[in-house]
């Protein structure tokens, strides 16, 4: 592929004391693809996402978004470039309704919020957009319930909705399926499918079934290093990946 | 008028409350002695708390003046509070008889016909000690006061009469608790006398620590009367023994008014009176005399003022008269803390330091007659 990758991670290192959670990791994500990132627990996937999103500062290495070096950009600036994340551990506004949650997200992307006078509630378009997102993630009937009163699985749906509402170019998804039942997982897979073409995705997920169905390419992270990148078929056959991560699961997904 | 109203606003809560309560108790003892009357008029005394906060004091004073329409006010302990309430008091032409606070501003440029001090001018006590230390021939003196206007004025007052060498002049933060560092420096300074002006709890802290550090053997400790009064003694105890201090009054002073005051105060409240109690008592007696002399016509402000100025009352401190700035001209005594005949630790009056002493600010006062 000759085009500039949408995301390019070069020799990224993150140390926590003696532990190198990210250890000279390099990775490309092409525009338009769904790129899955798999690896054992504690391999450094979330840590990598943290660095990509700007929540953690890398010890060394660079991150490129398109042609821009974003290594030192603060989180909010990255969001405005279109680099958006969701959290592995649900982080929603518990005391706000589902609609208000999503409306806040929409607000982030629709002009300045240094507006002190116009009632925010009068922005119909914003609430419509939020409603649309809610429908999309399957919370259309829960608009007015407080996020804190949703069940775990529903909160996970909202978590993804918050990211979606920002109309991302690159969506960093940290275990979106975790905590979802088979039914909801299925719906999430469908949702992510439908986003193809709209957003590029870097997907961290332990649900191999979903990963193999969705991913165009898969990278495997072990001890903070990318040990293999390839198509699902290649990864499934990769002996190292099987040993470090997949075990028998490769068959199940097949 | 058919009765007279007095607003007694003092510090009755918080760390400074001990002083205010003594003023109040002294004042009320006098009222009892007078049968609840001032002169010929039945009197109502409204006691309120200034919370040791200028802001609250201001508010409270307004309430006394505007809502209760008091004829006289008294009671404030602390100078900063006095200064805060002064404008409102003067504006309303209410007579203020200070039972403690005597800030230099009100003795000098901002003196006012409605303000009378029945206590002292703030510098007086320090001047008196300055003179004693000078006269006793101490050559090297260290000074210590908190870093605020009254502290600076205090040491200035001391230096007005002390001419020897000052080896250290230390100002400590107002909220300081521990004087370990200062005591070490003090030991190193080789001073032979120390003068401290540390009001309330600060003084208690310092004296305890001073004695604990063993410095009392090497240097003599001096303070103004209020750093060595009965309230402080009660809190510190034995370590206070031998501390010299100055005062315009002592509970052992030999005059009839004082004997009655001290005896009845002990009977009534079960403790020895302090300077503040004596001042509260005198404030009431001066009010009493003035109302008596104008024959109850307290509406006539000129007459009342004249009667107040005349000060025809038996002060527990003996000699008492007003200067042109309506601050006292009186005697100041040297006291030392020792054990009395009953074995109590208390102040003993030793000698007279100043006779008929006024203050340094009277000259700046252009008092309208």
């Amino acid at each position: 592929m000759s085009t500039v990758p949408l995301l390019r991670v070069l020799h990224l290192v993150k140390r926590f004391g003696g532990l190198a959670a990210t250890d000279d990791a390099s990775l490309d994500v092409q525009d338009g693809e769904i790129h899955a990132l798999i690896g054992p627990n504690g391999a450094g996937k979330t840590t990598l996402i943290h660095q990509l999103s700007g929540a953690l500062e890398p010890t060394s290495g660079t991150i490129w978004f398109g042609k821009q070096n974003i290594t030192d950009l603060p989180m909010h600036a990255r969001v405005h470039l279109g680099l958006v994340r969701s959290y592995q551990i649900t982080s929603v506004f518990k005391r706000l309704s589902v609609l208000d949650n999503l409306a806040l997200a929409v607000q982030a992307k629709s002009g300045s919020s240094l507006r002190f006078w116009q009632p925010a509630r009068s922005e119909r378009a914003r609430y419509d957009a939020a409603t649309a997102v809610a429908e999309r993630v399957g919370l259309g009937a829960q608009l007015h319930r407080l996020a804190g009163a949703l069940s775990h699985g529903e909160q996970r749906q909202l978590e993804v909705g918050l990211a979606l509402a920002l109309r991302p170019r690159l969506l960093l998804l940290d275990e979106p399926m975790a905590g979802m039942g088979p039914d909801e997982s299925e719906r999430m897979v469908a949702l992510l499918h439908s986003l193809r073409g709209e957003a590029t995705m870097l997907l961290v997920e332990h649900d191999m079934d979903a990963v193999f169905r969705l991913a165009d390419r898969i990278s495997t992270l072990v001890f903070g290093r990318v040990i293999a990148t390839g198509t699902p078929a290649e990864i499934r056959e990769n002996a190292d990946v099987r040993r470090a991560y997949l075990g028998d699961e490769a068959e199940i997904g097949a | 008028a058919d009765h007279v109203k007095v607003g007694l606003m003092s510090t009755l809560s918080g760390p400074g409350a001990g002083l205010g309560i003594d003023i109040r108790d002294g004042f009320q003892l006098a009222m009892k002695h007078n049968g609840g009357k001032l002169g010929t008029l039945p009197a109502e005394v409204i006691v309120v708390d200034d919370q040791m906060s200028p802001d609250a004091a201001k508010q409270t004073a307004e309430r006394l003046i505007k809502r209760d329409n008091v004829d006289f006010m008294t009671g404030v302990v602390f100078s900063n509070i006095m200064l805060a309430v002064a404008p409102a008091v003067f504006q309303s032409k209410t007579f203020y008889l200070s039972a403690n606070a005597g800030p230099s501003q009100l003795a000098g440029a901002q003196c006012n016909p409605y303000f009378f001090s029945v206590s002292y001018q703030n510098d007086n006590m320090h001047e008196a000690v300055g003179k004693v230390v000078n006269d006793k021939g101490f050559k090297k003196v260290a000074l210590l006061a908190p870093n605020y206007p009254a502290g600076k004025d205090a040491l200035a007052g001391f230096k007005r009469y002390y001419k020897g060498e000052i080896v250290q002049e230390v100002y400590t933060p107002l909220s300081q608790l521990d004087y370990g560092a200062e005591l070490s420096n003090l030991r190193a300074s080789g001073a032979d006398a120390v003068y401290i002006f540390l009001p309330g709890g600060l003084g208690i802290n310092f004296i305890k620590q001073f004695v604990g550090a063993g410095l009392s053997k090497d240097m003599t400790l001096f303070g103004p009367g209020f750093s060595a009064d009965e309230d402080v003694i009660r809190a510190v105890g034995e370590p206070m023994l031998g501390m010299f201090n100055s005062s315009q009054w002592g509970h052992d002073m030999d005059n009839a008014a004082n004997k009655r005051f001290v005896a009845d105060f002990q009977k009534e409240y079960g403790r020895l009176p302090t300077l503040y109690a004596a001042q509260g008592y005198d404030a009431a007696q001066l009010m009493n005399a003035a109302v008596r002399d104008v024959k109850g016509k307290i509406e006539d402000k000129q007459a009342v003022r004249k009667a107040l100025k005349a000060a025809k009352f038996d002060s527990v401190r003996g000699n008492f008269k007003f200067n042109t700035n309506q601050f006292p001209i009186q005697d100041y005594y040297l006291r030392v803390i020792g054990k009395d005949s009953q074995g109590r630790i208390t102040n003993k009056t030793l000698s007279t330091i100043f006779k008929d002493h006024g203050d340094a600010y009277a000259a700046q006062c252009k008092m309208p007659s």
């Binding site: 926590f16 798999i38 690896g39 054992p40 627990n41 504690g42 391999a43 450094g44 996937k45 979330t46 840590t47 592995q88 551990i89 649900t90 009163a149 949703l150 069940s151 775990h152 699985g153 529903e154 275990e175 975790a178 905590g179 979802m180 039942g181 088979p182 039914d183 909801e184 997982s185 299925e186 332990h206 191999m208 470090a244 991560y245 997949l246 075990g247 028998d248 699961e249 | -």
Partner: protein, 236 residues
């Protein structure tokens, strides 16, 4: 076999919104039971009511023959109920080893109790990170810790609420193997998980909950034989 746990027409509400409408099921000593159902159907609420964390409004719960629905959660726990809660709930301000040691006990008087060493042997990853604070663990490591923490109390009844969430396939397999071993040793277990195929292989009995009510109960054979059940209530 006697019933270790008996839940009878349990009703639970959060404030004014009722979630459970008379849930009844029983778990026999040494049995592995499951609760199945879609998201938000009341599985976790059932668990919370068992543990006394959300008080049931009606119905009874018997544990080892004793009524526990009115007891304080810590009493219930000391009787030998331990949970791997949804969302891990690791103590962030305790190190890994402290998380494990703080509540260690031998509540089922096992002759071969779970110890720190055994937990570390099960999850070597935790041994490596033993001095890390709970909040410095990866999601999966936290999950392992939560499981280890529950095992360390050697409970009569072990409750796992989505304990495989966020675990890598290899570790997940490890957990299944471990549960099988536990079962073989006679440990009673209640599992909630989305990998229903696995549960069918592992568990003895299943209870399906739909909108706060039990809609189906049976053993693995029956469940395995009736795919329409899955379709209808679980969505697989």
């Amino acid at each position: 076999m006697t019933a270790l746990l008996e839940v009878d027409s349990m009703e639970t509400a959060y404030g004014s919104s009722q979630v459970l409408f008379g849930v009844s099921f029983a778990i026999a000593e040494g049995e592995v039971a499951t609760l199945l159902g879609r998201n938000g159907m009341g599985k976790t609420t059932t668990v919370r009511s068992l543990l006394g964390l959300t008080r049931a409004r009606g119905g009874t719960v018997r544990f080892q023959g004793e009524r526990i629905e009115a007891l304080a959660p810590d009493r219930i726990a000391r009787m030998g109920l331990a949970v791997v809660p949804e969302g891990r709930q690791i103590f962030p301000n305790l190190s890994v080893s402290e998380n494990l040691r703080a509540f260690g006990a031998n509540r089922n008087a096992s002759s071969e109790p779970w110890t720190l060493d055994r937990v570390y042997a099960l999850f070597p990853r935790l041994a490596e990170r033993s001095r890390n604070m709970g909040n410095q663990l990866s999601g999966g490591e936290q999950q392992m810790l939560a499981i280890g923490r529950a095992l360390m109390t050697n409970p009569h009844l072990l409750v796992l609420d989505e304990a495989t969430e966020g675990l890598a396939p290899l570790i997940r397999e490890e957990i299944w193997r471990c549960l099988a071993t536990l079962r073989a040793q006679g440990q009673t277990i209640l599992v909630i998980d989305k990998y229903v195929q696995r549960l069918v292989r592992l568990a003895d009995r299943h209870t399906i909950i739909e909108r706060g009510q039990v809609v189906w109960q049976g053993d693995s054979e029956q469940l395995g034989a009736d795919p329409s059940l899955w379709q209808r209530y679980i969505g697989v």
